[in-house]
Amino acid sequence: MGKEECKTMLDALNKVTACYRHLVIALGSTSDSQNLREELKRTRKKAQELAVANRTKLTSLLKDKSISKEDRAEYERLWVLFSSSMELLEVDMKRSLEIGQDFPLKVPTRHLIQTGMTGSTTAVASRAMSVQNMKYEADSNIDTADLRDLQTEITQVSHMMEEMEMKVQVAPWAVEAKQEAGAELKSNMSVGNSSVGVISICEEEPKDEEAGGGRDTGFASICAVFVFLVIVGVAVVLGYLVINMS
């Protein structure tokens, strides 16, 4: 159904926005590099594709007059999610433009800030792109060439957002959130969970399952070790007594 598609797409957009933010934070620091710029570029492109797709979907859903009231409320909620994501994206893109201009990679006199971050951001980018391995194939002047593209993209995004606000009559403040305070402490939620007040555990990301499972097995192993030690200790004591007695 349209709603489910929307939700999965919004999830994806959300993920890409989060990863983009992480990448932009690393910009200008010692973990910056050619690869990072390329990662930024590709993540951005993906974000834009998703944004456009989301927008068309949502506008078509919202324009449909024949939907019920609850549906409409739900779509408005999704719309607010979408527009907030886009705002974040736009802000991050602007910042990446400024920082990118301030910290060109090839100029030898301008050093990257020694922030203490030295690792690469490949994993984040592959998460964003939903691929296993990132392949880097950009040429060496990506930092300057990319900036021009970035500028055009920023204007595109701003334009899109203005259009969105003009065309779609959604009052963002009228939307009520489904999550209560502290909802992030509960288990993984995707936007697909739409029942009000009931937080069911949806598809868990494999990574987190591993992490969770890892934690549990760790705990179990510690318990096992402890029990083992206790048994050994008891055996030693008994043996000692036996030897003493005899």
């Binding site: 959300n14 802000v91 050093h111 971050m117 959130a177 990574k207």
Partner: protein, 658 residues
């Protein structure tokens, strides 16, 4: 049509007072240069090692070397860089200062730099708090918890997004290696300590209001621009000028006088709270402290303005005036100030109140101003606005300044105050004590509470005001019989904004005043504030009078229509005679009492006309006018006896409440 978020303002915010940011950035870029900058070392945590940590002493040494300054200054400068957010401490992360020891710091990533002055959004803060919530498994710090709840309430429509984004960012962060993850958390935490400082810390990013234009940008030379330049120049030419010898002399005198009182230029006794975190200075100089400090008392002798602007000085002056029986001047001045500074909605009532209390003929606390000023004021009061009493206020101010102020400075009241004034000892804190003070900083009393206390105090003062000091110009009673708010149409008097009126049943003062001049009158003078408190003691003897006056009034009401004034006045005439000795007032209240007095006066507590009965020649000079007025009034539907009409009421009859 949705309302566009104004924060997405395409860079329209200019904060020119933060010009230091660009300069700080340059310094930081130099500092972090791997070859010539501050030397960095790895930070060793339990399992991981994180590079690029710098020690406090290294920072201070580098800064001192680079700028050729001494260590203390370098330390202050370094602390400024930390307060702005370019460097953050790793260990004591809430205190953004550079300590001259081996404590570690790190450079902030450019995304979190303040230089570009990107707006710090609440959405981001909410996402950060949500992430922190996940990490700390629900155990946020107190101020973080408060902020979280507040944001949850105000950003509720975005809350789904915030939760989703927080989770995603949390998971994305996990993708990085452990050292990077630690660094990232530290960075974000430091960013938010700068931009949402925990309570009790001062934010280095306070900058005042945002400006809509960039004052450093080149202005385009359009015709409008030149127009503005021309207007500015023309106005400059027209400005009145003072001879430089005069103005420089005044400046020199001011500096010489206030030099020892300036906390920057001379010692602030006992100690400057901003430097030592000890608030004795503020407690000793509270507005209503019992014993003021010597310095404060000295300031009162500089000028009358100083005396009045200091609350304690004003109290002292008020005490002195009370002894001299001229307290009404100060009271009038204060009421005018209240009018000027009060809310716009209350201007009308306050003006009326002041008129009745101070300016009207027969007012209880009548002040002595000259005829011209009175005329101007009364004319202005027809359309009362904030500054309508300015002329009168200035007159009274000059009167007090020229006359009472000099006597005050020689009076025993003042001498007593001077004798009792204290001179506190200077504090000498050691470094450890200073740190202790810094830790024990507590927020002061809430301004809301302070304001309430102020209002209570004002009310108390209003209640206890002593206007037994009637001079012979004040009050023949008969007016005041009605003065106590009894209007023609008490039932239709639905004005809630006239607290005065509500006091009627318990306000016996006018009559008792005439008869025995007790201090009951004081209650009537400030009825609005008090509402019935005040001398309950005098209520008992006065109740008798109340019933009498009530009877008289009801009688009057019955006889209102078609009744000649003289009939009504006759009932009250005995009371007139007692006040017959008063001399005339300055002039008629309303020079243009119109003949079109309205039939109904709704909700006007100013139903006090200056009709004097023909028998009661209190104001012999104006008797003809009064007769006319009284006839006009009675034609107009009979406002009854002896009521002081406020001049503006006659022009605007149906204006109801203020």
């Amino acid at each position: 049509m949705t309302i566009r978020n104004t924060l997405r303002d395409h860079g329209q915010r200019y904060r020119p007072r933060m010009a230091c940011l660009k300069k700080a950035e340059k310094v930081v870029l130099e500092m972090q240069d791997p070859k010539t900058g501050v030397k960095s070392q790895p930070q060793r945590l339990v399992i991981t090692t994180i590079p690029h940590a710098i020690t406090g002493e290294d920072i201070i040494a580098w800064l001192a070397n680079r700028f050729q300054i001494d260590a203390q200054e370098a330390r202050n400068f370094g602390s400024m860089l930390a307060a702005l957010g370019y460097i953050y401490p790793i260990q004591d992360h809430k205190r953004l200062v550079i300590k001259p020891d081996a404590s570690l710091y790190r450079f902030q990533t450019p995304y979190f730099w303040p230089t570009q002055q990107w707006p710090v959004e609440d959405t981001d803060y909410a996402i950060y708090l949500a992430k922190r919530n996940i990490r700390k498994k629900g155990l946020l710090e107190l101020h973080e918890q408060e902020q979280y709840n507040r944001l949850h309430k105000w950003m509720n429509h975005k809350w789904d997004f915030i939760v989703m984004q927080a989770k995603e960012q949390y998971r994305a962060a996990k993708e990085r290696r452990k050292p990077d993850r630690v660094v990232f958390e530290c960075q974000e935490r430091a960013y938010w300590v700068v931009h949402r400082p925990p309570p009790g810390t001062v934010s280095g990013m306070d900058y005042g209001l945002d400006r809509r234009i960039d004052p450093n940008a080149e202005e385009v030379k359009t015709p409008d621009f030149y127009e503005k330049v021309m207007i500015f120049t023309q106005q400059s030419i027209m400005r009145p000028r003072v001879k430089s010898s005069v103005s420089l002399g005044a400046l020199v005198k001011y500096c010489a006088t206030y030099n020892s009182h300036d906390p920057f230029l001379s010692k602030c006794l006992p100690s400057n709270p901003w430097l030592t975190d000890d608030v004795t200075y503020w407690t000793l100089n509270m507005p209503n402290v019992e014993t003021p400090t010597k310095k404060r008392v000295e300031r009162w002798t500089f000028s009358f303005g100083e005396l009045l602007s200091d609350q304690r000085g004003r109290n002292d002056f008020r005490l002195f005036l009370k002894k001299e029986f001229s307290g009404e001047n100060l009271a009038f001045w204060e009421s005018c100030e209240d009018l000027k500074w009060g809310t716009a909605g209350t201007v009308r009532e306050k003006a009326e109140q002041i008129y009745k209390t101070f300016l009207a003929r027969g007012a209880p606390r009548w002040i002595n101003i000259d005829g011209k000023t009175m005329e101007i004021t009364v004319k202005g009061l027809k359309h009362p606005h904030r500054y309508v009493l300015d002329a009168a206020q200035t007159h009274i101010y000059m009167l007090m300044k020229k006359d009472s102020y000099g006597r005050y400075l020689k009076s025993p009241v003042f001498k007593e105050t001077v004798k009792r004034a204290i001179c506190p000892e200077e504090h000498k804190f050691s470094q450890a004590q200073l740190e202790q003070n810094a830790r024990n900083r507590r927020p002061s009393v809430s301004p809301i509470v302070l304001r309430q206390q102020e209002l209570e105090q004002k009310a108390k003062m209003a209640a206890s005001v002593d206007i037994t000091q009637l001079c012979r110009f004040t009050t023949p009673v008969p007016h005041l019989a009605v003065y106590s708010g009894i209007t023609d149409f008490p039932s239709s008097n639905a004005s809630p904004s006239l607290p005065f009126v509500t006091n009627t049943p318990v306000c016996p003062s006018p009559i008792s005043l005439a008869l025995d001049s007790t201090s009951v009158s004081e209650r009537r003078a400030e009825p609005g504030e008090v509402g019935g408190e005040g001398n309950s003691g005098t209520r008992a003897p006065a109740t008798g009078h109340v019933s009498k006056s009530r009877m008289a009034l009801s009688l009057r009401r019955l006889l209102r229509r078609g009744c000649t004034p003289s009939n009504m006045f006759a009932s009250l005439s005995p009371k007139c005679h007692s006040a017959a000795g008063t001399s005339s007032r300055i002039q008629p209240i309303s020079p243009d009492q119109p003949s079109q007095a309205p039939p109904r006066r709704i909700g006007n507590f100013f139903q006090i006309k200056v009709d004097i009965p023909p028998e009661c020649r209190i104001y012999p000079i104006e008797s003809e006018d009064e007769d006319e007025e009284s006839r006009a009034a009675s034609r107009g539907g009979g406002v009854g006896a002896k009521e002081i009409i406020c001049p503006w009421e006659s022009l605007t009859p149906q204006n109801g409440t203020g």
